[in-house]
Subunit: 211 residues, 2 copies
């Protein structure tokens, strides 16, 4: 994976876009880089460079046109179309994510969920149909899903990832607390909750349980 655009930039663009949407509602027509920067808590130079990356150009006098920029970022990120997402692991986290996306982020649609637990399969949970694991090779290509979220225990994560990749998945957002070994052409983002908390706790300084 050798992205022409840095992954961090993509993440920030997603944020800018959401911020711009709010300003669009308010009827603001243009914004300067330092205003966007202030909202996003980054430097103005960072904003300008990120926008340069997608080739969007503002005007020195007016700044950036809110609606044109919002549209440009949207086009770049492909947000003009609803994206189908697959979920593996309809546990607590899987349910929370599905509920969140379904109710708050219409751009992403949980098109299919998979779980090993027969009490969960064959039903609609949190607005998403839950299939058995063995359905992965059928559903993923049929639905044309390329992106998956892994929200399951450590022990089965690698196996499920392999199955997803075999079914054609090209990007995995991994919430399982294990590193995954994947082909180089599959994009992987690890969001290990324990590691995140460990990091924050570490930099929070010395905590203590006793006393």
């Amino acid at each position: 994976m050798k992205p022409a655009i840095p992954a961090n930039t993509v993440e920030r663009l997603s944020l800018y876009r959401r911020l711009l949407e709010a300003w669009l509602e308010k009827g603001t027509t243009s914004l300067y880089s330092h205003q966007i920067a202030s909202m996003a808590c980054v430097t103005p130079a960072q904003v300008r460079r990120d926008l340069m990356a997608i080739g969007y150009t503002g005007s020195p006098s007016k700044g950036y046109s809110v609606d044109a920029l919002e549209e440009s970022i949207g086009l770049f990120l492909g947000s003009d179309r609803v994206r189908k997402i697959a979920l593996v692991g309809m546990g607590n986290l899987g349910r929370a994510l599905t509920t969140y996306f379904t109710s708050r982020v219409p751009r992403f649609r949980m098109a299919a969920a998979f779980d090993t637990d027969p009490r969960k399969t064959g039903r609609v949970i949190a607005g998403c149909m839950v299939y058995g694991i063995e359905e992965i090779p059928r559903i993923i290509p049929a639905e044309g899903i390329r992106t998956a979220v892994l929200a399951l225990p450590a022990d089965s994560a690698q196996e499920m990832a392999d199955r997803l990749v075999n079914a054609g998945i090209k990007g995995i957002l991994n919430y399982a607390p294990v590193p995954l070994r994947l082909p180089a052409d599959v994009f992987l983002e690890n969001r290990d909750v324990t590691a995140s908390l460990e990091k924050v706790a570490f930099f929070s300084g010395q905590p203590r349980e006793g006393s």
Copy 2:
């Protein structure tokens, strides 16, 4: 925040530690950097460098002693003591995180949760006592909690973060989809779910809803 140790290294150390625990159970006494690297899906040089950062020294002939290294990382990360964590927002995500940590990661203890919803406050949910927001200034210092997790909607995130910081919180793991403006001495880690998914979807190549 000017960490002597890179944040990425801390995250990897957390991972190494978990991997080592598994080997400890199996009775393995020593491992080479390339073995650890392989499990963690990083390069051997990276492993050696990370261990150098915490001052742990292996032996060229035996590699690293599994139990001594596990203990060293544990000491460095402060994992020898249980850490108390505060949670703000006992929604779906908050519940999932609490359940996960309570059942799987005993090193972190959800010591207190806070929520605005009066139907949730005053009760124990997912093994964690839920207090009203107004209790933050009382509970946080009383419990000596320095680390907090934010799992709530965008609109109230900044206000809750401010309250936490005023109560003495020094590190925040933010799952709310907004950037937070915090004093420089408070460590902040953003885990914006939408931005993560946007990134993965982007690098998954061209997805489509229609056809």
